[in-house]
């Protein structure tokens, strides 16, 4: 009796197991096929459900805290390196001879740059997510002061007399001038769009500040990105040079004689239909060179080659003898070495027409690029020893500093900074995100159009059907895991699909990510791209009076005349917290005549202030224009009854929206319904 009962139970369980196995397996296959938009992704639950957790025990278990060195500085005697560890919120003091980290100094959130005083006694570290600069006494290795800045401090420069600190406010697009005597911000200039790099000319009279994003202009107009020139003597803006057809001008360096300034840049092809990658039809990379003389020319030279692209140039340094420039290409893990005399010679012998042609010539780099040096993952900041003999490279996704001999042009060593030894799935995803190896001839990577995992502010002609139709404003990737579907037309139900086969067919035009890489990339995109804090408009969650009034407008159910607003025409209906999207498709009468008929995926609105231009084709330069110029028919919310004050309040509120994590709102796990 007992045995038969046991047998019955076993049989029952076996049958149940088989039922679960077959029906469950079928269900799992359907589910995975839907999520991945493929038919053969391995049925591995862990690859999705383990690595896409955004918080909690499992998240902590499968993820590690990395250092992510970003920028660095070398002491004059070469005995110390000061490395900004971006994800560790610290400045690492490194002995390059012993290849050892001596000290870790906690600074603000997401530190960006470090600069040393001439006497070598202090370091200033810009904290991009804290809106301040940490002042560090290097002898005691302690933060002795904190200087308030504008929003998103990035590049730093000291005035020639050391009395003022120029801070590039990358988010608010300003240059803060801080009086180091008082620690107070003396003035704040308006700069180009999303500035980062700052460098003082060798004579100490001119400060160059480079911008990353192009100035906002209607689609079709020439892309222009501002180089802001500060007269250091009188602390006034002397010039605002629009550099044509270039953007992402990350950093700038002057030759020691001061005859040239060299700026890293991307020359995008967003105005050209994206019909092929061959022949540089998507992106090219190079240097903008500005002659430092009366009526000095602006020359653009590519660093690419006809069948090889050197994506995402980030930093540039020039040796003290002025002979060589080193440029880090974070997209291809490479340092380009440029012979500056060859550049001078080329420029001096070329007519303006020839120079203009060179800016689009992939072969010209062979005249001045003398070496490509491979590095670890994602080389960012560069620093030369004061004698110029050693080049230090911050390998951001390697947690390592590589050391290059500038004479032999060989890597002579590396310094491990002590980050986790294992590469987690999400970290691998980040490496893939930042690397162009998965694009035909390395022409671009995810980061190229999504710098800082955000968006590049450009509108592209993706030529998805006929050329010249369906313009697309690049969308931010910040915290998008919970906001499917993707693409403006919502065609991709998951990040898997977004980055899968279609990605390689219409964009990268080379072999698609293998499933292991796709899993990693997806894990990173879903879990590893947080929003920056909204320090500009909502630093502490307390809304201003105007924002509160705007919130009421956002949530209102009746218009100014007391009429009930139809539910589908209320802001709050489609833009539901915490991401301010209901994840549904909508028609708000913003289709252009050049658009094919479609609905739009309701975009999420957190940190929306940081994503101009607006609407699917970027036609609205500001939030106001969404309604004042392009929403006049009351189809994108009831708006025409509003006074200007009310619209301003609404815009103020929209600008205050920030990531739910800053309000301790726990969001749902990654999901894609099936």
């Amino acid at each position: 009796m007992k045995a038969s009962r046991i047998i019955s139970v076993i049989v029952f369980l076996s049958v149940l197991g088989l039922i679960i196995y077959f029906t469950g397996g079928k269900w799992a296959r359907t589910h995975v096929n839907y999520i991945t938009a493929t038919g053969d992704h391995p049925l591995n639950c862990l690859s999705c459900h383990l690595y896409t957790q955004k918080s909690g025990f499992i998240y902590k278990l499968v993820n590690k805290k990395y250092l992510s060195p970003f920028n660095l500085a070398v002491s004059k005697d070469g005995s110390r390196l000061y490395v900004v560890a971006q994800e560790d919120n610290s400045l690492l003091v490194v002995d390059p001879q012993k290849r050892k980290v001596l000290n870790r100094i906690s600074v603000g959130n997401l530190p960006h740059s470090v600069i040393l005083t001439n006497d070598g006694q202090k370091a200033y570290v810009s904290n991009q997510w804290s809106d301040n600069v940490s002042v560090i006494d290097l002898a005691s290795a302690k933060v002795i002061d904190t200087l308030n800045t504008g929003n998103g401090p990035a590049g730093l420069s000291l005035s020639a007399d050391g009395k003022f600190l120029y801070v590039v406010d990358s988010y608010s697009s300003n240059i803060s001038v801080i009086d180091l005597n008082t620690g107070e911000e003396r003035k704040r200039f308006n700069s180009g769009n999303n500035p980062t790099g700052a460098e003082l000319s060798p004579d100490g009279k001119t400060l160059y500040v480079t911008s990353r994003r192009a100035l906002i202009a209607p689609y079709g107009e020439t892309i222009e990105t501002e180089l802001t020139v500060v007269d250091e003597g009188i602390q006034r803006i002397r010039d605002r040079r629009n550099i044509e057809s270039a953007y992402m001008m990350e950093n700038v360096a002057f030759t020691p004689t001061g005859d040239m300034a060299m700026i890293t840049m991307i020359r995008p092809k967003n105005l050209v239909p994206s019909i092929q990658v061959e022949q540089g039809w998507m992106m090219t990379y190079g240097l903008t060179i500005i002659e430092q003389k009366e009526n000095g020319r602006v020359i653009q030279l590519l660093l690419d080659e006809p069948n090889a692209y050197y994506s995402d140039p980030f930093d540039i340094v020039i040796t003290p003898d002025g002979k060589k420039a080193f440029i880090s290409h974070s997209g291809v893990n490479t340092i380009s070495v440029v012979n500056i005399d060859s550049v001078r010679s080329l420029i001096s012998k070329s007519s303006p027409e020839q120079l203009n042609s060179y800016s689009n010539n992939l072969g010209i780099s062979s005249r001045y690029v003398i070496k490509r040096i491979k590095t670890g993952a994602d080389p960012k900041g560069l620093a030369l020893s004061s004698d110029g003999r050693l080049l230090y490279v911050a390998e951001q996704l390697e947690d390592r500093i590589s050391v290059i001999n500038t004479e032999s042009l060989e890597t002579v060593g590396s310094i491990k900074l002590g980050g986790p030894r294992i590469v987690t799935v999400a970290r691998q995803g980040r490496r893939l995100f930042n690397n162009s190896g998965h694009t035909f001839q390395n022409q671009f990577d995810c980061y190229t159009c999504h710098p800082d995992m955000h968006e590049d502010g450009l509108v592209y002609n993706m030529a998805s059907k006929d050329m010249g139709r369906n313009l697309t404003n690049t969308q931010s990737l910040r915290d998008i895991g919970d906001t499917p579907p993707y693409k403006w037309n919502g065609k991709n139900q998951t990040v898997y699909k977004q980055d899968g086969m279609r990605f390689s067919t219409v964009l990268t035009r080379t072999e698609q990510f293998n499933y292991k890489d796709l899993d990693a990339l997806t894990a990173y995109i879903i879990t590893g791209i947080p929003y920056p804090p909204n320090l500009q408009y909502n630093p502490n969650g307390e809304l201003t009076e105007s924002q509160l009034r705007g919130k009421a407008m956002f949530e209102r159910t009746k218009d100014s005349y007391g009429n009930v607003i139809p539910e589908n025409n209320r802001c709050i209906t489609c833009h539901t917290p915490p991401y301010y999207t209901n994840l549904k498709m909508a028609y708000v009468k913003t289709l252009a005549v050049t658009d094919d008929s479609m609905l739009f995926d309701t975009p999420h609105l957190n940190n929306i202030y940081a994503s101009p231009p607006y609407l699917h084709d970027g036609r609205a330069a500001t939030l106001e224009e969404i309604w004042t110029k392009y929403g006049t028919e009351d189809r994108h919310g009831r708006i025409n009854d509003m006074t200007k004050n009310q619209l301003n309040d609404l815009v103020d509120y929209l600008k205050s929206l920030r990531a739910p994590t800053y309000d301790n709102i726990v969001t749902k796990k990654f999901h894609a319904k099936n």
């Binding site: 689609y219 079709g220 020439t222 892309i223 057809s245 020359r267 995008p268 092809k269 967003n270 105005l271 050209v272 239909p273 019909i275 092929q276 061959e278 022949q279 540089g280 039809w281 090219t284 590519l302 080659e305 006809p306 069948n307 090889a308 027409e353 020839q354 203009n356 042609s357 689009n360 010539n361 992939l362 072969g363 010209i364 062979s366 035909f440 001839q441 002609n461 993706m462 030529a463 998805s464 059907k465 006929d466 050329m467 010249g468 369906n470 037309n489 065609k491 086969m501 279609r502 390689s504 067919t505 219409v506 035009r509 080379t510 072999e511 698609q512 094919d596 479609m598």
Partner: protein
């Protein structure tokens, strides 16, 4: 004591094990694989591209295998059942050998695949016309050249792809060019020697195109008066090596290297200091090359090693006074090229062509030339239409797919300004761009919206008013 003995025995066994492992690994490391080569008793110097008796069809050729460690002793003919066989190619997993062969003297040449394990061969193609120069593509596909004479090609070899079992054969080149000696680059594209055959013979150049037949473009243009003979093969340091003749010794080969990154302007003659001729080359993993070389015309081509760094010939690996060693490959696994996605949609009848500025010529500014205001689209047998270019020099065409055409620039009075460009074809649903007209191939487009794309494309041939296309869904 017992414990001690056990320890000694264990240590001894482990030492033997490690030693064996060490030597076996060393041996493995040194081994490049078996050498597979072609030899022929008959000398052939024909370089016709438009005839079926091209220099690629070598009479009475044999494919052999030999062990590089003991070359003379290990020689084995693999194609004993064939009248002639050549163009060996090793699969990426190292298990199969692809080749072209004639079973009997007057049979058409077909593509065959041999299992290197049991040396059994399987016929891949069954064509009435000659097929030759096969190369492996990823995804179990191959590319090869097939002779044909039709309206499009007149007479010559087109490129085809098919599965390794011969199924799903598709033509991928559609212009009056003959394509031979193809190879697949690591970027996934097919590198092939192309030569115009209509209306007149052109010079052979390396062309590159995607396996779906899209984005065909010039890769390398040989020296003036020279000719290309062998497939261009990639080395492991970013170069391509091949054999090219020049004016001084037309029909005989120099060993040439170019950079993949900048193929048009990086030519180095590796054999400039060596007297004699080269016939073929194959890069080894070590970086050294295997070459077929002869000192003089009276000698036979023999197999040598070549040091590309020092530019010197090494020892002769194999020679036979009765045969020329013509081609060589090495067995073993090797890196698979990228699997390129395809934009071709056979449900679509046309392709789209955008030219950014017809007045961009070479590297010189357009101001020095008469500007074109119109283009003429010329087909094989007739003019397909004339189209006004936009104010910015751009034009935008919707062209019937898989049909060759040339574009000729004319002024406002209809006078021809410049000679027509090379033959172009577009695959179904292909979208293709060119920067200018006869422009420097190293030029990229300027970042501006071409005015022509603000309107619908002009349908070519122009007598067709409307093309009813399959609806292509939005990406």
């Amino acid at each position: 004591m017992k414990k001690h003995r056990t320890t000694i025995v264990s240590s001894f066994i482990m030492a033997i094990g490690f030693t064996c492992a060490f030597f076996s690994s060393c041996r493995e490391k040194n081994k490049e694989g078996m050498i597979i080569f072609t030899r022929s008793a008959v000398k052939s110097n024909s370089t016709n591209f438009d005839k079926s008796d091209s220099w690629r069809y070598i009479p009475q050729a044999q494919i052999l295998k030999l062990d590089p460690e003991k070359p003379e002793a290990s020689e084995k003919v693999l194609t004993t059942n064939f009248y002639s066989a050549h163009s060996p190619e090793i699969s990426y997993d190292g298990k199969y050998l692809l080749f072209a062969a004639q079973q009997k003297q007057n049979d058409p040449w077909q593509i065959w695949e041999m299992d290197l394990n049991d040396l059994k061969s399987r016929q891949v193609t069954s064509s009435k016309e000659n097929c030759t120069d096969p190369a492996y593509l990823p995804l179990g596909r191959i590319v090869f050249s097939k002779y044909s004479a039709d309206d499009t090609l007149k007479a010559g070899h087109s490129l085809y792809i098919c599965n390794t079992d011969g199924s799903n054969m598709k033509r991928i080149s559609f212009n009056p060019f003959s394509y031979l000696a193809s190879n697949v680059l690591s970027d996934g594209r097919i590198l092939t020697i192309g030569r115009q055959v209509f209306p007149e013979q052109g010079v052979p150049v390396y062309m590159v195109l995607r396996p779906d037949g899209t984005k065909s473009e010039l890769f390398y243009k040989g020296v003036e008066g020279g000719s290309l003979f062998s497939p261009g093969l990639e080395t492991n340091n970013g170069k391509l090596v091949f054999i090219e003749s020049d004016k001084s010794n037309f029909g005989e080969g120099n060993l040439i290297s170019i950079n993949y990154n900048r193929p048009l302007h990086s030519r180095v003659n590796l054999s400039s200091e060596i007297k004699g001729d080269f016939h073929s080359v194959f890069p080894q993993k070590s970086g050294r090359l295997l070459v077929s070389y002869r000192k003089s015309e009276s000698d036979r081509y023999a197999l040598y090693e070549f040091d590309p760094e020092k530019k010197v010939l090494g020892k002769a690996i194999y020679s036979n006074n009765d045969y020329d060693v013509l081609e060589v490959v090495i067995t073993g696994k090797h890196e698979r090229p990228k699997k390129l996605p395809s934009e071709v949609d056979m449900g679509v009848k046309t392709g789209l062509l955008l030219c950014q500025d017809i007045n961009i010529l070479d590297m010189r500014p357009s101001a020095t030339f008469s500007k074109s205001s119109k283009i003429k689209i010329v087909g094989i047998d007739s003019t397909l239409g004339s189209v006004d270019v936009a104010e910015d020099g751009s034009f935008y065409l919707k062209v019937r797919a898989d049909k060759p055409f040339q574009i000729q620039t004319v002024d406002k009075d209809g006078h021809i300004l410049r000679s027509p460009c090379g033959w172009i074809w577009l695959r179904p649903n292909e979208r293709r761009g060119c920067v200018g007209c006869h422009e420097d191939p190293e030029l990229v487009p300027a970042n501006r919206v071409p005015l022509s794309v603000k309107k619908s494309p002009v349908i070519i041939p122009m007598h067709i008013n409307k093309v009813v296309e399959k609806k292509v869904s939005l990406e």
